[in-house]
Symmetry: C2
Subunit: 330 residues, 2 copies
């Protein structure tokens, strides 16, 4: 299968983990194992990734440095495509045969300058801070913060992705067997100006939506959204939460899920799987192979197939589960 | 002709210019005009670029931000490949026909872990600072500084480039008419570990040497090193300085030129043009077409052709010169 695999920001850097180079490299090394398994299983994969924690850190660093170095979000996004793409390419390359070809491609994604998202920032980036820090930073830098969990996080506009500028090059490489890493952080948001030229804008595109667009345009068979939760759950966080095993795109309602995190994944999965013969799946990074086999995670298929649940969700002890053996909830 | 065009850090950001996004974009826009002229003239170009000022700034920003975000130079180099590559791709794309394909490729370059450069840092990065700042930063962060001009600049190891890891992908794209931007900042330096895996190292490869290697491996006809000086000069800075118009690689001695700036360019040009039928040229960004025609800059050809000089170097008033009309010294 041709699969677009999206690595969630949370799969690359878990909440609360320090954003050191070592931590990020370790996490990427872990993710690379799953990616290598997909390739070894004969799949043609295109890899995308989030950049929320990283782009937030770079913005903070830039603000703390010399005043002329405060770069806008399109430049920072480009920086994260370089940095995260490099780590993925290097760690995945270390696991693949010597003759495997990998390419990390800088990716620009066109958005509409009149997208209402520019007036309503919703995409959380960077670390969670306390209320006082959020208020100070709002006053001092004009950044917008929104409550998340126990604290506050900076939010930025997240316009809808419309076109992937480097699509022809990506397709050319994929056709020739190159493993392509692209659309990192959802791609660098650009708009078309009156004279037809492109210019970057201050936003961060949702990487799941961009990945869905990429999968559609590349004629992929599957969209695989990997994160740090087992599956899409109905009633997430409640004692009677139930994990969805399989559901038809037509009966899946993205409004039932958290706007900041699971919502965009569900929406991207629903959109992509809405077309016949295509599947989208959401689940844990380590379960990539099991998810495709329907043994873990949540699979969204085309049509109005009613929802089926996994056995009641149960907290697993470490070591209870390995990929392909999804354990009690499988 | 197939030409590897290297944009000097100084051509992208002149000494003393503020490192704002706007300034960098304006400079890149200016450089893109020269690149577009080369493409319009029918040449197949591969673009590389320096990152000295930018990687120095990112290191400073990282040091000023949260302590866990102090990333090593390989990650920072990858960030600059993303950021600068993005600006070049976008601005060049705005000048090319709609059906032109451009790709910015993350590039890793293998170096030898035992390269003596690791014990003798020489590559200047970042801004020029005063002696007190240099001393403080050395004590506080362990960075090394070396005198440059009226001040001091941080210096880092600059090992010799041995292999370009993404070479096959670059060649594939070039063969198919894609304008490739790669090996930014000389490429991300990586070494092979005992188990055969790759890992990044703290260094910044000289982009002229990396560009020469790339040109050689791609079978390019020409290596064009663009910067902010008219030509290679004998007696640079002296009243009787003379600009070299043309010289054989075998009679060119890199030791005659400044180690930090012109030396590496002359060495890269001499190495590449040392093989029969290939040319290397050094000159001003705006003169790209004129340089290739032998009407501006310095051309290095194979063999022992004796040096020929341009008319005595004369300071030009702004507006005296336009590309293709190299003026008094042409």
């Amino acid at each position: 299968m041709r699969i677009v695999v999206a690595l969630g920001g949370n799969a690359l850097l878990k909440r609360g983990e320090p954003m050191t180079a070592e931590q990020q490299r370790n996490n990427v090394r872990h993710a690379a194992k799953s990616l290598a398994e997909l390739i070894a299983a004969g799949h043609q994969i295109i890899i995308t990734h989030g950049n929320g924690p990283q782009v937030g850190l770079l913005a903070l660093q830039a603000a703390a440095g010399p005043p002329d170095g405060v770069h806008p979000l399109d430049l920072l996004g480009a920086q994260t495509e370089g940095m995260i793409g490099y780590l993925i390419e290097q760690e995945l390359g270390n696991l693949l045969p010597d003759d495997a070809m990998i390419a990390t491609l800088l990716t620009q994604v066109r958005v509409d300058a009149r997208d209402p998202a520019f007036r309503n920032p919703t995409k959380p980036i960077g670390a969670t801070v306390d209320e006082l820090t959020a208020k100070h930073t709002t006053a001092y830098r004009g950044w917008t913060f929104a409550p998340e969990g126990q604290g506050w996080r900076r939010v930025v506009p997240s316009p809808a992705p419309l076109d992937i500028l480097e699509l022809r090059v990506i397709a050319m490489l994929v056709e020739r067997g190159v493993v392509v890493i692209c659309a990192g952080g959802g791609g660098i948001p650009v708009v078309t100006q009156k004279d037809g030229s492109l210019i970057g804008v201050e936003a961060v595109i949702d990487k799941d939506r961009a990945s869905g667009l990429l999968a559609d345009r590349l004629g992929a068979d599957a969209l695989l959204l990997l994160t740090d939760v087992d599956a899409v759950q109905v009633g997430f966080g409640e004692p009677d939460a139930r994990a969805i095993a399989r559901i038809g795109a037509d009966v899946l309602n993205p409004d039932d899920f958290a706007k900041g995190s699971m919502g965009p994944k569900v929406e991207a999965a629903r959109c992509f799987a809405g077309s016949k013969g295509r599947i989208a799946a959401i689940g844990r990074l380590e379960d990539a192979i099991a998810i495709l086999a329907g043994k873990a995670g949540t699979m969204v298929v085309s049509g109005d197939e009613p929802v089926s649940f996994r056995l009641p969700h149960k907290k697993l002890a470490f070591g209870d589960k390995s990929p392909g053996e999804p354990g009690p909830q499988g």
